[in-house]
Structure formats: structure tokens, C-alpha cells
């Protein structure tokens, strides 16, 4: 019986399949018409295994398949599989076994078969069809099903992705490699599609497996192929790939990174702050007013940058000399001004929101703002930090009537709520009693009672919190408790309405903050000293070539003094650009072969930092970082070659290459001493001030020679 063949001779089966695999390639190469060749190849291949009954079935299936192309190939298997199961059920009259359950079982059972997969995947096309018309024992049937379907069933359920399975799909050495090829800029997708067309035309002759064009990587594409020669062959004749283009192999560990996409789901909501990416308003802050997901458009509110004169000229048909690249400054639209220019101002009602807009030259204005409809692609939604000035500008017209403004951004939210506490110094900013200063006595829901500084007035006066503002005298020491500069402390240098200017204690720069965000405090912060795991003065590795010491920590980035000895090089790096911190204490030798370790005091004797002296903070790759408190730059850090330094207090007489204590003793006696000898020095010149860290060996020697 044919089926027995499968059961018993599984190995032979695979061999046969492989033979046929080769056969198929030959066949296909002969075929001119790619599509037909595939199908007929399949027919021929299958006939080797399958008896006539199944083959007939095959033909039927293939006819049906014509409509569906390759995708339908899965169907015949299913269909025939289910037919098979029905039969089995008939034999068994076991109604519990549903098609899906059985297939699920296969998944569990095929766990052990995973090593076979790689080969099996290649051969799954050669999937064998079951024989439906034989009656067999149930066990034999299930066994044959499992053997036959285990591999392919597992592959079938590939789609149900779990993270564990993703691990199993990591590239192996048997997989084709990824090659990075340079192409014409902006044409990456075009090249990918052209290569696809070429593959369809040339068929199996083109031996590349896939081509990847990433959106964010310009100028390059990735081609997946077994050999570099295949890549070259495929790229021959491609206009957009330079003939001389370098083909670079992607290391196997980086292959998955090529295909990973950072998909951040940015949900645009109303009242989100965004920035424009293109056009006259590029870089400007805007607020989202309406989102249309269907058409991928949003309506944003902007401060108009309109040149009324130019607009008037344009609308009246007057030829105006167009100043190239002239971007008008942002200014609120004044309707009356526009009317004066004889610009037609139409009052239109927006059907969606029911608001009235003024339409000038096709642009919609309201309250001085421009409401513009733009595509989602032209706005930037991530990490939008509205600056202080921009927010202020947006506030201007909104303050009076627009009650919504208060609840919108967090920055605003804090501001409108009274931050007043008992004892706060305040000043009246609205009303008849403007500029009256006082102290807060009591705070209620909406009213604040203050005790004015003027003696003639009643003891307490009540004001609404909108009429008051916190006040600071020049010279007060304050701390910022909310907002973008949170945590900073400093001294007040000027006050302008709601805004306080202060000089930061740490960075010595001028900060502008809202008075509501500030409280009087004598606390002096030492400033930010760490972001993440990296602290000030840590030695960090940036990438394979460079490393350096962190000399300053800003809110978002670090200033790093690089390990370049001859000239001081400072780089501004972000947290993610830092690869690792160097923990281990390096060792090195100075100019005279004295052993250097961290905390030793050294002096620089050559190079641009000659004459500087200080304790060693870090040693790495032949370079030392010294902290000299008299050095005014780079937080006092100096980078120098170990060869250019001399250990302060170290011996100069140890010219011996090996650093061998015994021979150095002789050397010491032979060579004329260039430096005053200290009685302790009898071996390798361990500095007397060394606290003996890790010098156990030497001390023993010392003791020995003692």
C-alpha cells in the first residue's frame, strides 16, 4: 500500500524530495513562461509520489486555483485534509474530533520537530497529499497525519505570533545574508520595486530573495541574498544603483534591527500642541483644533504670518516684486487693517463648529489666529515642548474670553490655579489697587486675603486670585517648583508682571519663569548631577572609538570631555549615545615607568597642558584624566597621555623596560640620580603617598628588600 511507504521510509522520502527539488529547478530553468513552468513543475513533481487518485484531485484543485493564484494553494491542502478527516470520522464515528482540534494537537506535538523545520520550510511546497480512500487503523492514520503535517502545520500557524516564536525565527548561518547597497537618494522604493519587476521577468535566474527599502534610511537599500555575486548580478543594469556601489554585509546580529520598525502610536487629540514641519510656518507652535482621521488632515490654530501688502497685491492682480524666502513675522491678524487694504473679508460660518470665521484670501481667521487645515504628515507631534514665549503669545488674545485656555496645557493649568500660600508676598495686578504689595493672610476658594504693606489701609483686603500675582523683590533667593525649569534655584534679578527673571545657582544663566511657579526658598540646589545611571565625572564609553569624562549635566544631555590628549575636545551627547560606564580602575605607567593609579597626583610635563597638576580621576586606554582645580575650563578636567605625565613624587631613575624590581634596583644604582632619593624608594618607585591599594605585591617586595 502506498501509504506504508510514507510511514516506514521517511528518510527516503526526504531524499526523494530533495532530488525532485533539484529536478524542479532544472525544469523551471528550461521553461520560458514563468507562471506555467511553476505549475507544470508542480504537477510533474507530485506525480512521483502520489498515486493516481490523489493526482486527479490535484488537477481539480489547480483549476480552481487559477483564480486565486498562489494564495489558494493553501486551500487544496485544507480541503483535502478535511476530506480526509471526514473519512476518518466516518470510520471511527468519533464526532468529537474536529478539524481544528487535530491541527492544534499537531502544534503541540510538533514541538519536538522544530529542528527539522528549516529544511522542512523549504520543502513545504512539496507537501504530500493524503490518500483519502483507504481504510486504515486509527493509529496508523494519526501517525501518518502527524508525520506528514507536523512540519507544515507548524509553519501554517506561524501567523500566531508569540514572542517565543519570534526568537525561533532569528537568522541562522544557513539563511541568506543582508547586503547594504548604495543607491540614488530618494529612489529607494523605486529601486525595490524595479528589482521586483526584474525578478518577475527573469525568474529563478535572479538569485536575490528580497529587497528592503527603509523610510528613514536614505541612499541605501538592503538586498537579501546568499552571495555578494548574486547581489552584483541583480544590480547590473539598474539605473538607480551606482555600478561602483560598495556592497556591505550586515552582521548577523544586526539583521533583525534592519527590519524593526519603531511604530509609535501617536494619537492626535484636540488641543494637543504640535509643530509645523513645512512651509511658511515651519517650526511654529500650533494647537490642534480638529482631527480628521479619514482624510489624514488636522485643523490647527496658528499665529498668522501674513504679509497684508503682498496679499493685497496678489488679490488685486498687481504684480508685486516677490521677495524670495521672505517669511513675514508672526502677528495677529487685524481684521480692520485687512479691510483698510481693500482686502475682501468674508464672514463665514463653519458648518462643523458653528463658529464664525473671517475669510481673507481663502484663509480662515478667528480672534486673530489663523485656522489652517494641514495633512497629518506635515506636523510633528512628538516631544513638543512649547517654549515660554510661544505660550505667552498664544495666551494673548485668549485670556479674555476663551475660558478653555486655562484647562489646556499643563503649563497653563498650573498657572491659573492660585498658588498662593499664607505668607507669600504678592502684588495686586488688576483693579484700582494695582501695584499694592502685601502678604497673604488667608486663602479661600477664589478669594485671597492679604495684609497690605501700606499702613493706612484696613488690615486685610480681599482679592480674587486673578487679581494677584506673587511678588519677589530683587535679590530674593527662590526655587522653581513647577514648569520646565523645575528644580532650579537662583536669585531674582527682575520682575515683569507675571514673569520673574532669575539667575540660576548652578548654570549661572538667566531663567524666565512664571511667578506662580516660584517660591521663596533659601535652598541651594547643586543642580542636576545625574541622568539615568550616569553621574557627573563618570568615565563613559560613547562608541567604539571614543570615550570621555562627563563634565556637565544639563537637563537633556551631557557635556563630555573626550579622551583626546592633545587638544581638549568637548562633545554634547545625549543619554542614548552613551554606551557604557567604565567602572574598573585602569592602570598605567607614567613617563618614567612609575605605576599610576586613580587618585595619584601627577604633573603634566609636555603638551598643551604642561605644568598642570592634580589627582588622577580616570585612566583608560593610555590616557589619564586629571582634575586640576586651578584649571578654569571643562570643570577642571584635563586629558593627557600617560606618557606625558609624571607621578609627583615618583622616581625618575627607572629606565628599565621590564619594570623588574631587582634590575631596577641596579639601574637605580648605576644611573646618576636625577631626582632626590627618598629612603623609601628601593624598588619601582611606588609613591609614598599611595595608600596601598592593590599594591600588595610591591609592598611585599619592599618588605623583602627592606
Amino acid at each position: 500500500m502506498p501509504r506504508r511507504d510514507y510511514d516506514d521510509e521517511d528518510d527516503e522520502q526526504e531524499e526523494e524530495e530533495e532530488e525532485v527539488y533539484e529536478e524542479e529547478d532544472l525544469e523551471e530553468e528550461e521553461e520560458e513562461d514563468y507562471d506555467d513552468g511553476g505549475k507544470s513543475g508542480r504537477k510533474r513533481r507530485r506525480s512521483d509520489f502520489i498515486d493516481d487518485a490523489a493526482e486527479e484531485d490535484d488537477d481539480e484543485d489547480e483549476d480552481d486555483d487559477d483564480d486565486y493564484g498562489g494564495g489558494g494553494r493553501r486551500r487544496p491542502k485544507r480541503r483535502t485534509g478535511s476530506e480526509f478527516f471526514d473519512l476518518e470520522a466516518a470510520v471511527d464515528s468519533d464526532e468529537d474530533e474536529e478539524e481544528e482540534d487535530i491541527e492544534d494537537d499537531f502544534i503541540v506535538d510538533s514541538g519536538a520537530d522544530i529542528p527539522d523545520e528549516d529544511g522542512a520550510r523549504r520543502e513545504y511546497r512539496h507537501r504530500l497529499l493524503p490518500h483519502e480512500d483507504q481504510e486504515e487503523d486509527l493509529e496508523e492514520l494519526t501517525r501518518s497525519i502527524k508525520q506528514r503535517y507536523a512540519r507544515s502545520a507548524h509553519v501554517e500557524y506561524d501567523e500566531e505570533a508569540t514572542d517565543v516564536e519570534q526568537q525561533a525565527l532569528l537568522p541562522s548561518v544557513r539563511d541568506p545574508k543582508l547586503w547594504m547597497v548604495k543607491c540614488a537618494i530618494g529612489r529607494e522604493r523605486e529601486v525595490a520595486v524595479c528589482l521586483m519587476q526584474k525578478a518577475i521577468d527573469r525568474g529563478p535566474e535572479l538569485q536575490i530573495r528580497s529587497v528592503v527599502a527603509l523610510d528613514h534610511l536614505k541612499n541605501y537599500i538592503y538586498i537579501e541574498a546568499d552571495k555578494e555575486a548574486h547581489v552584483r548580478e541583480a544590480c547590473k543594469g539598474m539605473r538607480n544603483i551606482y555600478a561602483s556601489a560598495k556592497i556591505m554585509l550586515v552582521p548577523i546580529k544586526e539583521m533583525t534591527d534592519v527590519l524593526s520598525v519603531e511604530s509609535k502610536a501617536v494619537d492626535l487629540a484636540r488641543d494637543t500642541w504640535v509643530r509645523m514641519k513645512m512651509g511658511t510656518y515651519k517650526g511654529d507652535l500650533a494647537k490642534v483644533m480638529d482631527v480628521d482621521n479619514v482624510r489624514q488632515k488636522v485643523v490647527v490654530k496658528l499665529i498668522p504670518r501674513i504679509d497684508l501688502q503682498a496679499l493685497a497685491n496678489k488679490l488685486e492682480g498687481r504684480e508685486a516684486p516677490k521677495k524670495k524666502a521672505f517669511i513675514p513675522p508672526p502677528r495677529f491678524m487685524n481684521i480692520d487693517e485687512a479691510r483698510e487694504m481693500n482686502l475682501r473679508v468674508e464672514r463665514r460660518r463653519d458648518p462643523m463648529s458653528g463658529d464664525y470665521f473671517e475669510n481673507i484670501g481663502g484663509m480662515m481667521f478667528k480672534d486673530g489666529f489663523l485656522y489652517k487645515t494641514v495633512s497629518m504628515k506635515s506636523i510633528s507631534t512628538l516631544n513638543i515642548q512649547p517654549t515660554f514665549d510661544e505660550l505667552e503669545k498664544f495666551r494673548q488674545t485668549g485670556e479674555g474670553g476663551d475660558g478653555d485656555m486655562a484647562s489646556l496645557s499643563t503649563l497653563f493649568a498650573n498657572r491659573k490655579k492660585g498658588h498662593f500660600m499664607k505668607g507669600d508676598r504678592v502684588i495686586v495686578v488688576k483693579g484700582d489697587l494695582r501695584n499694592l504689595k502685601g502678604h497673604v493672610e488667608k486663602v479661600e476658594e477664589d478669594t485671597v486675603h492679604i495684609r497690605p504693606n501700606q499702613k493706612d489701609l484696613p488690615l486685610t483686603l480681599a482679592f480674587s486670585d486673578k487679581e494677584l500675582c506673587k511678588y519677589f523683590d530683587l535679590g530674593n533667593h527662590v526655587k522653581v517648583v513647577s514648569g520646565s525649569s523645575e528644580g532650579a534655584t537662583g536669585m531674582v534679578v527682575s520682575v515683569q508682571g507675571h514673569v520673574v527673571n532669575l539667575v540660576s545657582d548652578t548654570t549661572k544663566e538667566l531663567l524666565r519663569v512664571f511667578a506662580d511657579n516660584v517660591v521663596e526658598s533659601s535652598e541651594v540646589t547643586s543642580g542636576l548631577t545625574r541622568i539615568g545611571e550616569y553621574e557627573l565625572h563618570d568615565l563613559v564609553i560613547l562608541d567604539n572609538k571614543s570615550f570621555g569624562v562627563i563634565i556637565r549635566v544639563d537637563s537633556e544631555a551631557f557635556q563630555v570631555l573626550k579622551g583626546v590628549p592633545d587638544r581638549p575636545e568637548v562633545a554634547l551627547v545625549r543619554l542614548r549615545e552613551i554606551k557604557a560606564k567604565v567602572e574598573k580602575k585602569g592602570n598605567a605607567q607614567d613617563r618614567f615607568k612609575n605605576h599610576l593609579a586613580v587618585k595619584d597626583v601627577v604633573k603634566v610635563v609636555e603638551g598643551p597642558c604642561q605644568g598642570k597638576q592634580g589627582p588622577v580621576e580616570h585612566i583608560f586606554r593610555g590616557v589619564v584624566f586629571i582634575y586640576d582645580r586651578h584649571h578654569l575650563e571643562h570643570a577642571g578636567f584635563i586629558c593627557a597621555k600617560t606618557q606625558s605625565c609624571v607621578l609627583v613624587g615618583g622616581s625618575r631613575a627607572n629606565g628599565d623596560r621590564n619594570g623588574n624590581p631587582l634590575s631596577s634596583r641596579f639601574a637605580h644604582m648605576r644611573a646618576p640620580p636625577r631626582a632626590p632619593q627618598s629612603p623609601m624608594r628601593s624598588s619601582r618607585g611606588g609613591p609614598p603617598m599611595n595608600c596601598g591599594l592593590g599594591r600588595g605585591g610591591e609592598d611585599a617586595v619592599l618588605g623583602g628588600l627592606g
Binding site: G69, G70, P176, R209, S210, V212
Partner: protein, 117 residues
């Protein structure tokens, strides 16, 4: 090269390009309307033009042309090794609408919504 018929390849690269939300095949709107999706014939995009808008999206990242899905590691990693050769995208931005997801379930067709990081 595989013995499958390749899917149509996109005829242009502009805004008309759309990706099927299930199999991530990339073609133009017109191509989907004319011939549907080769991997997802059950969507019947060629019959119901509204379906094209529901089942495809213009928001996608990256393009990969798969010549030989069965032997391509990249196709395997992206789980498109079972589909016909053609141009696919690495990731789509949206998930299939609920009613279509149910349709997939009914037809026992595996569907995995896009991963969100």
C-alpha cells in the same frame, strides 16, 4: 524562485500607495480596486470598492520586495513567508476594523494586529 504567481507590483510611488491591513501587501488604490488583494481574496476588494478603503491604509512604514518568500529570512521574520511574492510593507499603522477582524475569524484566517511599542 518560487512557483507562485507574484502579486501585482505597484505602478506608482505616490499617495495612491496603500497597504493591505492583514497581509501588508502594497499596491495602488486602483490596483486593489481592480484585482483585490492576492493574499486576502475573501475581502473581495475587487467587488466592493468601499472595502478597499476599509482594508487598506496609506499609512505604512518601509517597503520590502519579496522575490522568494519561501527562502527569504526577512519574509519569515515578518511573517509574510506564506504569501505570494510581491511588495510588502514592514509595518502598518492601524489595525483591521472590528467587523473585518470577525470576518477573518469566521473564515479561520489568521490575523495579527500591528504591534504597538
Amino acid at each position: 524562485m518560487g512557483s507562485q504567481t507574484a502579486a501585482q507590483i505597484p505602478t506608482s510611488f505616490g499617495h495612491e500607495l496603500r497597504a493591505c491591513l492583514r497581509c501588508r501587501l502594497v499596491k495602488t488604490y486602483d490596483q486593489f480596486r481592480e484585482s483585490g488583494c492576492e493574499n486576502c481574496p475573501f475581502f473581495k476588494m475587487d467587488e466592493d470598492h468601499e472595502r478597499v478603503v476599509d482594508c487598506t491604509t496609506p499609512n505604512f512604514t518601509g517597503l520590502i520586495s519579496v522575490m522568494d518568500p519561501t527562502r527569504s529570512w526577512a519574509a519569515r521574520w515578518l511573517r509574510i513567508a506564506r504569501y505570494v511574492p510581491g511588495c510588502y510593507t514592514l509595518a502598518v499603522s492601524e489595525a483591521l476594523p472590528e467587523d473585518l477582524q470577525n470576518l477573518c475569524e469566521d473564515e479561520h484566517i489568521p490575523y495579527a494586529p500591528p504591534k504597538r511599542i
